[in-house]
Amino acid sequence: MRHLLSTTDLTREDALLILDTAAELARVTDRAVKKLPTLRGRTVVNLFFEDSTRTRISFEAAAKRLSADVITFSAKGSSVSKGESLKDTALTLEAMGADAVVVRHQASGAPYRLAHSGWVGCSVVNAGDGTHEHPTQALLDAFTLREHLGDLQGRRIVIVGDVLHSRVARSNAHLLSTLGACVTLVAPPTLLPVGVETWPCAVSYDLDEALEGADAVMMLRVQNERMNAAFFPSTHEYSRRYGLDTRRAALLSDDAVVLHPGPMNRGMEISADVADGARSVIVEQVTNGVSVRMAVLYLVLGARAEDQGGLLPAAEAVPA
């Protein structure tokens, strides 16, 4: 695998390899020297056309822990704000000798275009494109779930909120079902995308019913910056029907956990006492994000140009 563009591209084996690799890399964090020499001399470019703090910092920390050189390129204050096209930006990066590009773009499909256009020869990692996918977020969510629940086979996971605008929901629905979990989406009908019936998950409009006995619930941020129409009558009504509060959290199974990709709208989709409660693993998600992104960068950058298939090169004899 030279690129990570979408969780739909990942087989169960690929996903488990990334998660197992991340689990080993997580232990580097406990050491005195929190650095590995693996990607020494390689250059990772963070290409962010859209604002992001935690994803960008997380990728930066991951690349630096693997000893790669990191160049961060934000649209604001760069040539992109002067109207440079994606192609010209890509050619610039190629000319600078980037080995991997981590790209976030407001247009769905931009990372795919970058990877398959022939503009750049380097690896492309999708850090969120439009309303399409955010694969590393889904991988860190799956990693966090596995730490708490073990094998996800048959586990019931509920994803609640603004599915329409959420690349996190789409990536998670596919990845978690690949890992064997039963995913239920809960959202107002206006905040479900067209074609959601083709996703590998169930859809419900009743949050209380869906939460009954569930093993995990993932609250999505209500993306106010994308709310260009009247998707729901008022924030109060949204919060009452689709917000997670203490009463609703009590419906979950005993060992259930609460996730949120951040940043949270406290009091809107999640109440403060649940966000800070014992079931909340929201801070762990951030920690795990670094380990998962280290695993992705290692596997993507380690792949040789001729390996187009799975994550690992074809088995070959290694001299003893």
């Binding site: 020297v33 596997l299 690992l312 004899a317 003893a320």
Partner: protein, 190 residues
């Protein structure tokens, strides 16, 4: 750094150079040699290099423990992230690295591997150790030394010196991972 099994017999003759009884005697001798060289087991930590260095290290630790009546700390080291050939060979899955609770600072660390060949694995392991702690000394124990070093590295404890040609390959099978204890030389005119 022993390879995964591949169809054997396709490489010509197979010679079994060590059997289960030989390997057991090697474990016993190396255990005594380590104890002699380090003046007893105090401060000794054994670290097996993934994958087959690990069961070999555990066997030596058990034998040393029997001799001295003390428990010898033993751990494992995965050196994948320290290899110098990731760009050539591509990524591999990681195995667990377990450092014993006492850490490595001021200890005598005995690295344990199954086969010593180019020396590049040991080079990577030395780098990995220096990121974990600062041992007083690092020594190297191997089951088989087959020669053809590419780096200035030698073993302190050797189970068997095995002159080989580059055309041959050495396979170590240990019962923990392969159901049988043996060392084979494949190919060439062995």
């Amino acid at each position: 750094m022993t390879s995964s099994p591949e169809p054997e017999g396709s490489q010509g003759p197979v010679a079994r150079v060590l059997d289960a009884a030989d390997i057991s005697r090697v474990v016993g001798r190396i255990s005594h040699e380590i104890l002699e060289r380090t003046n007893g087991p105090a401060d000794v930590v054994l670290l097996g290099i993934q994958t087959r260095g690990v069961p070999f290290a555990r066997r030596i630790a058990v034998r040393m423990g029997e001799i001295e009546g003390a428990e010898i700390p033993v751990g494992s080291l995965d050196i994948t992230m320290y290899r110098d050939d990731i760009r050539l060979r591509g990524p591999r899955p990681l195995e667990p690295t377990e450092i014993p609770a006492g850490g490595l600072d001021d200890r005598i660390v005995v690295l344990v591997d199954d086969v010593l060949y180019s020396g590049r694995t040991v080079r990577a392991a030395l780098d990995a150790i220096s990121d974990v702690g600062r041992p007083r000394a690092v020594q190297l124990a191997v089951l088989v030394d087959r020669g053809h070093r590419e780096l200035p590295i030698r073993a302190d404890y050797v189970g068997k010196n095995l002159p080989t040609s580059l055309a041959q390959s050495v396979r170590v099978h240990l019962s923990e991972t392969d159901d049988v204890d043996e060392v084979l030389v494949l190919g060439g005119g062995a």
